[in-house]
Symmetry: C2
Subunit: 358 residues, 2 copies
């Protein structure tokens, strides 16, 4: 078992990573105060893994309820959220009940927001089961749901007591979801740690074969990077914005294709290559560095070419994105691999980068 | 204008009280950063007061939207909450949009929770229009909505930027609502400040005639007391419990009568007299002190006799109340007027107090 300490003052908590972490009674025992637990999962992950977790929790004397949400981003809404409150109240759960999210980012975001709002806050634990949720959504305290008019528009900043990452969940994780998570992993190297990026260049094939040792290293280093960034900017005023590398383009691709066509990570993969190209045009990356980024994105099974959505269309969608302001568009760019900077970009340079979308 | 500073570290904020406070551009200007404001009110208070506030906000250059909720506690739910998100998104409100609650506690609790959750938190201002919301619900940061299985079960702790109390709203406040707010005012004196309690004994008739000077004094002193208590215990672990004086009985009365039959403040009025009687039986109040409490509750137009709900019935409902634990019931009692203590009470003494409900 590896442990990372996320330093957030009185809301500090550990991320524990290992094989069979779901069977680890010690960490769960330490993290759960009350006698009752509600596991929130979905009807795809629940049948695969809920029983293991239930048994561990029963072994430490907890009363355990399981609530399965329907599977899919389209259910990440107020109506599904309310079913969590229904169960909590039907089971007469009080303030000492711990909510455990067992699933990917969708389950984690919803269960986390339910925990933040139920009785104005009950304890919360994440057991993330996708690479993306392990390295990204379970770190940083963002929780929430979608609204028909916007993604992740309703939510809370809420930190868990514990994040428990069990490597055995990779056994069933579809390769496409693994790739999607790799986009965020590559992003962490690109924006923050050149040595980690080099390690990813060498080890992405092993990661794609779900090699345990490599996965642990990637999850640990990515969680460290994300939590370091978040600890410096918990509420998103400054530094945290660098985590949006590749995302301004990525969001435009997701929106332009219609949500759900491309996975978020796939859009970010292609988006990072556009952002690298833009960085090169502004004199901050060499052609060779851009090529290295392209190769690692490709090795992770992610698209390296954006879809042909049209230049004007892409620009309009980026202007709608919340990271932009009227008149110009702010981008997270790379000033060398491992160093992110935030810059306003002139529209003609942006158009040159986007010629591949024409 | 009178100003109270609520001391909550980086979430400190002022409560401003005065005639025509809604016309006060200075405080609103200081408290509102962005250019857009959404006023959340209801279809009873909105037609009376929204226009004034809109004009003041326009005078300081803000773009103002008004959203009217249906009036009534029965609409304090997820569905109505969602209409606030609908409007925020339809109007493309961003993170810098300020939500202003204009109304009583129902509007304040809902708008406050919407502000806490929209984009994980946007600025929030309260313009409370009932005595209860001025002295109680607008102070302390609790926001939330009801669930069919429980009151105030879903919400957030969220502090406003400013509370603006305009005395002119008393012109239209029904006498019954004024009385309901007085229950909390009397409570503040009883639990925390004997001199204030004496002042209330002398001035309750003036308050019931809506005398401005007396109202200012009561609102200021009550806000000071509540915010002092809350500042020492923001998240409700200890001291804050004394604010539940009269409430264990009160909640049982509300539940037993069916919610909405007795106003919350009416149930608390009768509840405080039961709690005083219980304190006397345990040797902590004299008969004379109990009589003083009864007289001031009566002068505030509140019931001094509980409804005949039956002793066992009352005890069962109190056991369901969240302030109790299996086996015994914890009560906030008075050890002299102005000094609250929390004690487990033997069931036979409790039954003796409850004989009036038989
Ligand atoms: N809170 C944050 O900071 C943050 C950050 C990034 C993304 N997100 C959110 O996360 C969500 C995406 O998360 P995600 O990529 O994990 O997607 P997801 O939760 O939808 O999971 C992807 C799919 O894989 C299935 N699955 C999960 N684990 C599995 C396993 N071990 N074996 C087999 N199938 C498994 C899921 O049921 C789902 O069908 C989005 O809603 C996004 O908004 C949040
Ligand atoms: N957040 C907290 O800490 C806290 C504390 C106490 C109570 N509460 C909540 O507050 C709510 C009760 O608040 P309330 O007593 O203000 O009730 P309310 O908001 O229902 O208002 C009472 C009635 O008076 C009307 N009204 C309000 N102001 C008026 C005015 N100036 N003129 C004419 N009519 C007016 C309202 O439309 C409503 O019909 C409950 O939902 C309770 O749970 C919250
Ligand atoms: Zn992402
Ligand atoms: Zn009350």
């Amino acid at each position: 078992m590896k442990t990372i300490h996320v330093e957030l003052g009185d809301r500090a908590y550990p991320i524990v990573i290992g094989e069979h972490a779901m069977h680890d009674t010690a960490h769960l025992k330490r993290a759960i105060q009350g006698s009752t637990v509600l596991i929130v999962t979905n009807d795809m992950v629940g049948p695969l893994y809920a029983q293991q977790l239930v048994e561990t929790l029963k072994a430490i004397g907890k009363t355990v309820h399981v609530h399965m949400l329907p599977t899919g981003e389209q259910y990440k809404n107020l109506e599904t959220l309310n079913t969590i409150f229904d169960v909590l109240l039907q089971q007469q759960c009080d303030r000492r009940t711990t909510l455990i999210a067992l699933g990917g980012g969708v389950v984690g975001d919803m269960a986390g927001f339910a925990a933040a709002a139920y009785m104005r806050g009950v304890p919360f634990i994440q057991v993330p089961t996708t690479l993306l949720s392990q390295v990204d959504s379970s770190v940083g305290g963002k929780t929430g749901i979608n609204h028909p008019l916007g993604k992740n528009m309703i939510g809370a900043f809420y930190q868990p007591q514990l994040v428990l990452t069990d490597l055995n969940v990779f056994a069933t994780l579809p390769q496409r979801e693994l790739s999607a998570g790799m986009a965020e992993v590559i992003k962490h190297g690109a924006i923050y740690d050149a040595a980690y990026f080099e390690w990813l260049e060498a080890n992405t094939p092993k990661l794609m074969r779900k090699d345990s040792e490599s996965l642990v290293h990637a999850i640990v280093r990515s969680c460290e990077i994300k939590s370091e960034v978040v600890a410096q900017d918990e509420r998103e005023g400054g530094l945290r914005a660098i985590l949006n590398f590749g995302h301004t383009f990525g969001h435009a691709i997701e929106a332009g294709m219609g949500y759900g066509e491309w996975l978020h990570g796939e859009a970010v993969g292609a988006g990072m290559i556009l952002a690298a190209d833009l960085s090169q045009r502004l004199g901050m990356l060499t052609a060779n560095e851009v090529e290295r980024i392209r190769r690692v994105v490709q090795a992770a099974g992610l698209p390296v070419e954006p879809p042909q959505l049209g230049i004007d269309n892409m620009i309009n969608m980026m202007k709608l994105d919340k990271k932009s302001d009227a008149g110009y568009i702010k981008f997270v760019l790379l000033d060398g691999i491992g160093r992110a900077v935030i810059r306003d970009v002139p529209e003609d340079v942006l158009r040159a980068t986007l010629h591949v979308c024409a």
